[in-house]
């Protein structure tokens, strides 16, 4: 696993996208980057292209240009992603895809469009009103539009069978990911949260089949591990669904005496709670799955069930003691959800801690102190 883990960490911290360039060289195909939470990767895959989840640049890139375009009070991932573009790190991508997660991300889409006219840059409107019977039809029409644009870009023509195959491949990948997460929640002392995080996130940059193989290998390796459980509190980490914290933040949370038994890091790779149907019109199946089988998320609007209830269920199911709200600085969807989460957690008597991070953080003293204090407050109780 160590090797595998190092490989994963290399992949996720590589802002030159070597895996993507290698894949393009090997296959002659095109690459589509999507801004980070969720995109219908199946459709991109079926068009013979490589879907890649973009997640900013962490602390590996000094921001020299993007601050001037986005200014203060805007989250870091928006700026580092633009900076990647302006420093030619996104040259491998033929298309960039954004979705309706938040206003900053949406505006980034059009700033990208203006600055990189040679790329196909598009915005998918994922419905905010899943209770309307019209939503699925509309979303399927969005997906068909995307598919047609990819074809224009030189992708394989739309083929129902290819999309169904893609759905199967991603279903398999997601099912494995889900089971690894479940396994770890039972035995957090055998698999570090940082390991699982790197392993899952690596899928953002690899062809799905290759990543699936990786997950299989990792699963076998974990099964063979043995170690003594530590006296730690079990926490759910919530709020870093888009901009990703430096991996050291995840490590520090664990070092400070917390087992992270569930989280929403790279949530897009675990977006569906069950397999997407492979019957009938695949575009409709994808749309229906988005509306009815998605995880709750601060950037998916579904008023049929409060998200705060989803969080409480997660805490209960994972037998967690507490919640750490790990929120990217200036991430407005997370800030807003914190308000309702907080009320609900307090009502349910679940302790929580709010901490903010930036992807480019590289000293962690304050953060460490806050998490340690939090763990102490539960341990010394």
């Amino acid at each position: 696993m160590n090797d595998l883990y190092v490989t994963c960490e290399d992949i996720i911290s590589d802002i030159d996208f070597k895996t993507v360039r290698d894949w393009k060289d090997r296959t002659g195909g095109k690459a589509v980057g999507y801004f980070p939470v969720y995109a219908p990767a199946e459709i991109i895959h079926a068009a013979g292209m490589l879907p890649v989840g973009l997640a900013g640049a962490g602390d590996r890139l000094d921001i020299q240009h993007a601050d001037a375009r986005f200014g203060s009070f805007i989250c870091s991932i928006v700026k580092t992603t633009l900076e990647l573009g302006m420093t030619d790190h996104l040259a491998a991508f033929d298309a960039l895809l954004f979705t309706s997660i938040c206003d900053s991300a949406r505006n980034l889409c059009y700033v990208m469009q203006r600055n990189f006219p040679e790329k196909y840059v598009d915005f998918l409107h994922l419905p905010h009103n899943p209770s309307s019977p019209a939503a699925a039809e509309f979303l399927a029409s969005e997906y068909r539009r995307l598919s047609a644009r990819l074809e224009e870009l030189g992708g394989e023509p739309y083929d129902e069978v290819a999309v169904l195959h893609a759905i199967e491949s991603f279903n398999e990948n997601r099912a494995l990911t889900r089971s690894l997460c479940d396994w770890r929640a039972e035995r957090p002392h055998l698999m570090k949260a940082s390991e699982l995080y790197a392993l899952v996130r690596a899928g953002n940059y690899l062809p799905v089949e290759q990543h699936t193989e990786m997950l299989v290998a990792a699963g076998a390796e974990f099964e063979g591990r043995a170690a003594k459980a530590r006296d730690s509190i079990r926490v759910v980490v919530e709020g870093a669904f888009c901009e990703q914290p430096p991996i050291d933040v995840v490590r520090i949370i664990e070092q400070a005496g917390c087992y992270v038994v569930d989280d929403d890091l790279t949530i897009g790779r675990r977006w569906f709670t069950e397999d997407i149907s492979t019957d009938g019109d695949p575009m409709m199946a994808l749309a229906q799955a988005y509306l009815d089988k998605s995880v709750y998320s601060s950037v998916r609007h579904d008023f049929r069930k409060p998200r705060s209830q989803g969080l409480v269920e997660k805490v209960r199911n994972r037998k967690a003691d507490a919640v750490i709200m790990l929120v990217a600085k200036f991430c407005e969807p997370a800030y807003f959800d914190y308000v309702l989460f907080k009320q609900e957690l307090e009502k349910e008597g679940i302790p929580h801690l709010l901490i903010e991070f930036e992807e480019k953080l590289f000293t962690f003293e304050n953060l460490r102190m806050e998490v340690e204090t939090f763990a102490e407050s539960l341990l010394f109780a």
Binding site: D103, A135, S141, H301, F336
Partner: protein, 405 residues
């Protein structure tokens, strides 16, 4: 506006007529009007609190409740005021019978209305409007919105116990189309020099009635009169030889808690806003779009998708400003970055780049906030504004002398 607050107070006391919370931008007020449901605009409340310098207390109350200092201050002002029992005029506001989130572009709307519905325990309906990507909305997008509008009709029928009266709806849509015509003419008056009308600082006094009374006969009469008065003023100004030194286009909402101070910084230089994007939040009509009484549902849908600035993308906003600069003959662009509002402000630096560098239009970029009084620094803003005009002045005189020479 006063009688609107009065009606709201009545509704708060008697429960009739029922009120529905809505967002200003892309509001389907024609539909609520057809049911005699009162529109209740949390944004207008937040704005009123801010301009009356009453926003800080509710903002702090909301922060105590858990909102971040970087959340949209409109939301905090509105929700904090509810906690504190503060209303802009002091008279009570009704509990909404329906929290109608007409989502147009701003994701904060969705969170805001969700919170309003949870905190006030009022039913929520989210009317999802696809963002305007291409120049025109797709047939799928229009169909999606129309179907939701019809779902909304059912909700309104339940709330009011009335059936939809198509004639009443057509009447409301007709009124809107008239108001839009007058409003558009007012906007076009600013193309004259000197402009009789400041499309930023003065516009806000007309924007309230535009949201509240658009779909009514009173609204039509009000805007007709406003147009006449401004036409008269234009004549008088011209005869009096009123001096107008600079013509500007404003982008972004104003800093309401310091509205006077900000306005004075420009007034001192005899500068006039001849156009602004903010005044198109309620609707973008100066380029010809109107509601259509013959197609009430489709035209309401089109208004929501296409004809308001918040549902249009950055590139389209750039084009809108560019047209203002050219057709309204402006000397420069002022970009007011508002920390609360990422819908407007995220990426405004790139917009600045587009205007100043790509198009060579003198552009000033300043930062503050639309409701939180803590982010306004008079001295620093004054320096920036003065420096901008000093530069503009030199340009103009250099240009004139070049012409003379």
């Amino acid at each position: 506006m006063v009688d609107w607050y009065q009606k709201l107070a009545e509704s708060a006391e008697t429960g009739t007529p029922p009120a529905a919370s809505m967002m200003v931008s892309g509001a389907c007020v024609e539909l609520t009007q057809a049911f005699d449901v009162l529109p209740l605009y949390p944004e207008v409340n937040a704005l009123q609190l801010a301009i009356r310098r009453q926003s800080l207390e509710p903002i702090l109350a909301a922060e105590e409740f858990g909102y971040a200092s970087d959340n949209c201050a409109y939301v905090k002002a509105d929700i904090g005021a509810y906690f504190k029992g503060i209303t802009p005029t002091g008279s009570p506001l009704p509990k909404p019978a329906l929290v109608l989130c007409n989502f147009v572009g701003c994701n904060t709307y969705v969170k805001w209305f969700e919170h309003v519905s949870v905190i006030m325990e009022a039913p929520l309906y989210v009317l999802d409007v696809p963002f305007l990507r291409a120049g025109e909305p797709s047939a799928d997008a229009i169909a999606y919105v129309v179907r939701q509008l019809k779902e909304l009709v059912v909700k309104l029928e339940e709330i009011t116990g009335k059936q939809l009266d198509m004639d009443k709806l057509r009447e409301a849509v007709w009124c809107s189309s008239q108001v839009e015509e007058y409003w558009s003419k007012i906007k076009h008056l600013a193309r004259r020099s000197p402009s009789p009308f400041d499309a930023y600082f003065d516009a806000i006094t007309l924007m309230g009635p535009l949201y509240v009374h658009r779909a009514t006969r009173e609204g039509v009469a009000f805007f007709k009169q406003a147009l006449e008065e401004l036409e008269l003023k234009a004549e008088l100004d011209r005869e009096a030889g009123v001096r107008e030194r600079f013509r500007l286009v404003f982008e972004g909402p104003p800093p309401y808690p310091h509205f006077r101070a900000f306005r004075d910084m420009f007034a001192k230089w005899n500068a006039c806003a001849v156009a602004s994007t903010y005044s198109t939040v309620g609707g973008l009509w100066e380029f010809g779009a109107r509601h259509d009484p013959d197609n009430p549902f489709e035209s309401i849908a089109l208004h929501m998708i296409e004809h308001n600035v918040t549902n249009r993308n950055m590139q389209q906003r750039n084009e809108q400003i560019k047209r203002y600069v050219e057709e309204w003959d402006a000397d420069g662009v002022i970009i007011h970055f508002v920390k609360s509002c990422r819908l407007f402000s995220a990426g405004q630096g790139d917009m600045r780049e587009y205007f100043s560098r790509t198009l060579g239009v003198p552009t000033l970029y300043v930062e503050s906030d639309l409701a939180d009084p803590r982010y306004f620094s008079t001295a620093q803003l004054q320096t920036r504004v003065d420096a901008y005009f000093e530069a503009l002045e030199m340009h103009k005189s250099a240009r004139t002398s070049a012409h003379v020479g």
